[in-house]
């Protein structure tokens, strides 16, 4: 990897120092002032074009939880969101790499932004998880694998993947990279966890509508890390099990990211192909007679009030959904989960009543 100029290194050191001594509420503003474009969209001086590297043998350490407590994993759709997430108390952020993450182009980083994010995280003792959870076209698998190899060399610790076949290939060829089986894999039960554990996944993402007892049962049999998306929108159809959008309109993803993505649903990586079909009004017709006008049921899940039960059950990573959230909105959510997690860690299990989220952030929809 190319070396970073000395002035940039010292700049990062200043940032680390600032985090150590400055109240969190002041940091975002000072970050903007002090870092300016250097941690924004501008390239970092001294970094040349990326060179292809052989498959990495870097030994990533995953995003294992701090001893005795779960890790707080936050979404970051922009570099600014990543900064604010760390400032608000996230232990790690997950970000998308342009063209390769499920959910399309919203909230994806380019390579330079990703590199800056990784370096910022390292400087702060935090971590970055990369969402590369589309299902690549078979001819594109090697290209994505090469990208992941380069990113592992940069210090990326973990990657989120979607397809069982690609997951196994990455495990074999990049043994040091921690792999999370995406929520799009549709895992729900103990044997799902064991399946992905067999394949070599480091972690599995489970939806936040599971109960703590289910998490405990999984943890009792499986050694794989369990990430639970405790803050998410539960749509009517399970994530990873919905083809309604492409039944209505099959978007030609290739026009946006030529050759890279399969077309079709969000599950397989289609770009902009979730038209929120489930959030549009429908007429329910019963034996040919109009019976109702309605939406599919969906709800915002925010289980911060039950966080202690989930932590008692052995959750390794508390995950917050929403790379498309603004940095400000995400920060508030992260802060609340941070407070609740810290309270649990301090033994305030039964005594601490976590603050409610502002109503505007718990409405349906994203």
């Amino acid at each position: 990897m190319s070396g970073r100029p000395e002035n940039a290194k010292s700049h990062l050191q200043e940032l680390v120092t600032m985090f150590a001594v400055t109240p969190r509420r002041d940091i975002t503003h000072r970050l903007r002032e002090q870092l300016g474009a250097n941690l924004g969209m501008e390239p970092i001086p001294g970094y040349g074009p990326l060179q292809a590297s052989p498959l990495s043998t870097a030994k990533g350490c995953g995003i294992e939880a701090p001893k005795g407590c779960a890790m707080l994993l936050a979404p970051a759709g922009t570099l600014e969101a990543a900064k604010q997430a760390f400032q608000a108390g996230a232990d790690a952020v997950y970000v998308g790499l342009k063209g390769w993450s499920r959910g399309g182009a919203r909230g994806e980083f380019d390579r330079e932004q990703l590199r800056q994010c990784i370096e910022l995280a390292h400087a702060l003792g935090k971590k970055v998880q990369l969402a590369a959870n589309i299902i690549p076209k078979p001819p594109e698998r090697q290209r994505l694998l090469q990208q992941l190899s380069e990113l592992a060399d940069w210090g990326l610790q973990a990657v989120i993947l979607n397809d069982a076949g690609f997951l196994r290939e990455v495990r074999r060829k990049l043994p040091g990279l921690a792999i999370t089986a995406s929520i799009g894999c549709g895992a729900l039960n103990t044997d799902d966890a064991l399946f992905y554990q067999d394949l070599g996944a480091t972690a599995i993402v489970l939806p936040g509508y599971l109960e703590p007892e289910e998490i405990a049962a999984i943890k009792a049999r499986a050694s794989i890390q369990v990430e639970v998306m405790l803050h998410m929108v539960q749509e009517f159809i399970q994530l990873g099990k919905c083809w309604m959008p492409s039944y209505v309109h099959f978007a030609a993803a290739d026009r946006i990211f030529p050759a890279q993505r399969l077309g079709g649903s969000v599950k397989r990586g289609g770009v902009g192909t979730c038209f929120r079909i489930c959030q549009q009004p429908w007429t329910l017709v019963n034996d040919g007679v109009e019976a109702d006008q309605r939406l599919f049921p969906s709800r915002q899940i925010s289980r911060v009030g039950e966080l202690a039960a989930f932590l008692d059950a052995g959750v390794d990573v508390i995950k917050i959904q929403g790379r498309s959230l603004s940095a400000e909105m995400a920060s508030v959510i992260i802060g609340i989960y941070r407070s609740a997690t810290d309270a649990w860690k301090c033994g305030q299990k039964g005594e601490w009543d976590p603050p409610a989220l502002p109503a505007m952030w718990t409405v349906q929809g994203r």
Binding site: F166, S246, Y247, L284
Partner: protein, 310 residues
């Protein structure tokens, strides 16, 4: 197996007893969406055992399906169904959930596993993994094209089961919103989801079965059977979990005759076949996914059939 296999789906013993299966080679027993579906084979082990026996007594292969998205509380029942399938001599089990595939692989190593459409087989690499877990055939994810299916079958060395008719699964849910209507309609769970319920928006529709959403249109590959046979496909499915015995019989007869013709090198389809399809189609026909198009589109020459169904 003869030169091809035509199979279908039946959710409970009542429907099995009412169905004439003479057009079929094999039957999948069970409803994959809901544990509360009326007398679901997957919840009633005595019925499942009897169903397997009755199917096999007719000289057909008996397959036992399993839930599309089981949480931990369903796994003991899944385990019982697998044990019943093995003890009663089922020819294979169908798995949509990869955890259940692992259960089959670990606990019933001699049992053939068919990977269902909710298992999300999109690539040859994914299929290869499932093959190592004992899968002997797979239903491709419903939104991929025949070209992609071919690359998977070639790459993974595993045959595909191709749905040729019936409503396509489009999604599975953890929640049945039809229960909200129990207070207003005379029908109650567990038969509520068997009503002819469609979700319509503009000029297109989807069929609601409570915890599942199916295509409103019937997938129809009747005029493309010669191409499917020429491409090497030999296993075909008529999805009929929520259809009547009459649908199952008449559509089955249409496809049996057409497949026999296709295998014999004759691609013609009798006009009466289209008449039968029209009679059993509520909102039209589709097959777009197989041709890399929007799923609700129909690709083919039978434009007049589509118009008549629309």
């Amino acid at each position: 197996m003869g030169s091809f296999e035509l199979n279908t789906t039946i959710s409970n013993l009542r429907s099995l007893l009412e169905s004439d299966l003479s057009a079929y080679d094999a039957v999948y027993l069970g409803n994959i969406y809901c544990r509360l579906f009326e007398d679901n084979f997957l919840e009633r082990m005595d019925d499942l055992k009897e169903g397997i026996t009755r199917v096999k007594d007719q000289g057909l292969r008996a397959y036992v399906t399993s839930y599309a998205a089981p949480r931990n509380d369903a796994l003991p029942k899944v385990q019982m169904a697998l044990e019943t399938a093995a003890a009663a001599g089922a020819d294979a089990v169908e798995v949509h959930n990869l955890g259940v595939l692992r259960m089959v692989h670990e606990q019933f190593p001699g049992m053939a596993a068919h990977v269902g459409g909710f298992a999300n087989v999109y690539t040859d690499a994914g299929a290869e993994v499932l093959k190592e877990y004992g899968a002997v055939r797979f239903t491709p994810n419903y939104e991929i094209s025949l070209d992609e299916v071919e690359s998977i079958t070639r790459g993974a060395g595993m045959p595909a089961e191709i749905q040729v008719h019936g409503k396509m699964p489009l999604g599975v849910s953890d929640y049945c919103f039809l229960l909200e209507y129990e207070q207003h309609w005379p029908e109650k769970c567990p038969v509520l989801c068997q009503k002819q319920l469609f979700l319509k928006q503009g000029d297109w529709a989807m069929r609601s079965v409570g915890k599942g959403v199916l295509s409103g249109k019937d997938l129809c590959m009747l005029e493309h059977l010669p191409a499917l046979v020429a491409a090497g496909h030999r296993v075909f499915r008529i999805e009929a979990a929520y259809e009547t015995p009459a649908y199952r019989l008449q559509i089955g007869q249409v496809y049996r005759a057409a497949l026999e013709s296709a295998v014999a090198g004759d691609g013609t389809v009798d006009e009466s076949a289209w008449q039968a399809i029209r009679e059993h189609t509520a909102v039209g026909l589709c097959n777009g996914f197989y041709f890399g198009r929007t799923g609700s589109e129909y690709v083919g020459k039978r434009v007049e059939a589509i118009a008549a169904c629309g």
